[in-house]
């Protein structure tokens, strides 16, 4: 763990942070450090300067703003996990965040860090595309809003320009008649998912009226399953399993040293349907209550 030396700075504003990023090609944003510092310790990332954004108070914490949950980029996983509002307006996030890493990683690791790191097997970026969140991105001069679905462009890469900072995450609150489902298979507790699936659904009568499904670990970035989503409308939750092959057009799993692509594809079909059925049944439960 003898790392290549780097500088460290704690800017007083997002503007100052972006200026550091603009001036120094090798500068990287440091928040909780739970993705960046392992890469640095392993020698896979050799930044010249770490720009620590943790003292930027505006980026820390979460609150309800009208019909949406606003999460500051440097809010930790643990804050999300323990917040009663999150359990009420975004129960999918409350459930999935418990599957991230372990207690110590969640104490330090930030939501913005997970999104900006863009690991294709990460739980939260997948849930955020299902919830149709938007990300606010600041370069010190101008703020733009990027839909979560467009943010990651591939493996560990995003639409963030080198001098831009992800500052906040806006999650529309799901209506009370929406249910959620979350499924994950990982080799060990706390690992990144081999495959994870997240779904939210709204039923009318006994049938699915709206369904959104996301998958992680089956493409270079998290994906939605529009083919399956469209086919599920008007069906009962029990009739969803026959739609499992409709996951295939929207995934592109690859082989790695441990897991063949066909196994990931199999998991994707199984977990997508389980998550969708859980979501639909929870919606029916709410309507029955």
């Amino acid at each position: 763990m003898y790392v290549r030396p780097f500088g460290y700075t704690r800017p007083a504003s997002p503007l100052e942070a972006c200026e550091h990023l603009r001036r120094d090609d090798g500068a990287k944003v440091l928040a909780g450090g739970q993705s960046l510092l392992p890469l640095v310790n392993l020698g896979l990332s050799t930044p010249s300067l770490l720009v620590d954004i943790q003292s930027l108070g505006d980026l820390h914490g979460l609150h309800l703003e009208g019909e949406q949950l606003v999460i500051g980029a440097s809010t930790t996983h643990r804050m999300l996990e323990r917040d009663a509002q999150v359990r009420r307006v975004a129960p999918l996030l409350a459930a999935s965040v418990r599957e991230v890493g372990n207690l110590r990683v969640r104490n330090r690791g930030t939501i913005g860090g997970s999104v900006a790191h863009a690991d294709p097997a990460a739980e939260l970026p997948m849930c955020l595309i299902v919830l149709e969140a938007r990300y606010l991105v600041d370069n010190g001069a101008r703020v733009r809003s990027v839909p979560a679905a467009d943010f990651a462009t591939g493996f560990l890469t995003t639409r963030l320009a080198p001098d831009e900072l992800l500052t906040r995450i806006e999650v529309p609150a799901a209506g009370p008649d929406w249910g959620w489902g979350f499924q994950e298979v990982a080799r060990r507790a706390g690992d990144f998912a081999l495959v994870a699936a997240a779904a939210i659904a709204r039923c009318e009568g006994t049938l699915v009226a709206d369904l959104r499904i996301g998958l992680a670990g089956v493409a270079p970035r998290p994906v939605r399953c529009p083919t399956l989503e469209a086919a599920a409308r008007g069906r009962s939750p029990e009739a969803l399993p026959e739609l499992a092959p409709l996951v295939d057009p929207d995934i592109a799993p690859s082989d790695d040293s441990f897991t063949p692509a066909h196994y990931r594809a199999h998991l994707a079909r199984v977990l997508a349907i389980r998550a969708a059925q859980d979501a639909a049944r929870r919606s029916l439960d709410v309507r029955a209550a």
Partner: protein, 167 residues
Amino acid sequence: MTDATSRITVNGRELECRAAAHLSLLRWLRDHVGALEVKYGCGEGVCGACAVLIDGQAVNSCLVLAAQIDGRAVTTSAGLGSPSGGLGRLQQAFLDRGAAQCGFCTGGMLVTAAEFAGAGEALDRRSIRDALHGNLCRCTGYQAIVDAVDDVLRDQGSSSPPAGGWT
């Protein structure tokens, strides 16, 4: 800046940390403070041997820079004793249950359990295992470790920690 100065309290002692900016909290604790109870296992945040509390929250000290925690208070497993100077409850329970084999993971187990127990969230063994799943014991001595944490939680008999926490 390539050097950083921070004031960090370690087990109640306020210290000045003047070090290269890239120095991890783990290396500062071991090489500069002499807190050898904090172990270097993996350096990737996976094993939990380097766990310490920062203001009561368990973290991997290999994934924190000393420069990042100016003004904060660090507690290592050696700082979990009772105020009178004897063993703390968790430490005593680990001793009673023989919850250390080679001992390398023990400090991290104690520190993680200290936060988990202090939060008063979970009392059953499954929850204890869940909360400790990021701490690896390569001797595989998990049973006694879970027993020890379970003893402390049962002794309390309620979910509210006493003043000063469970330690």
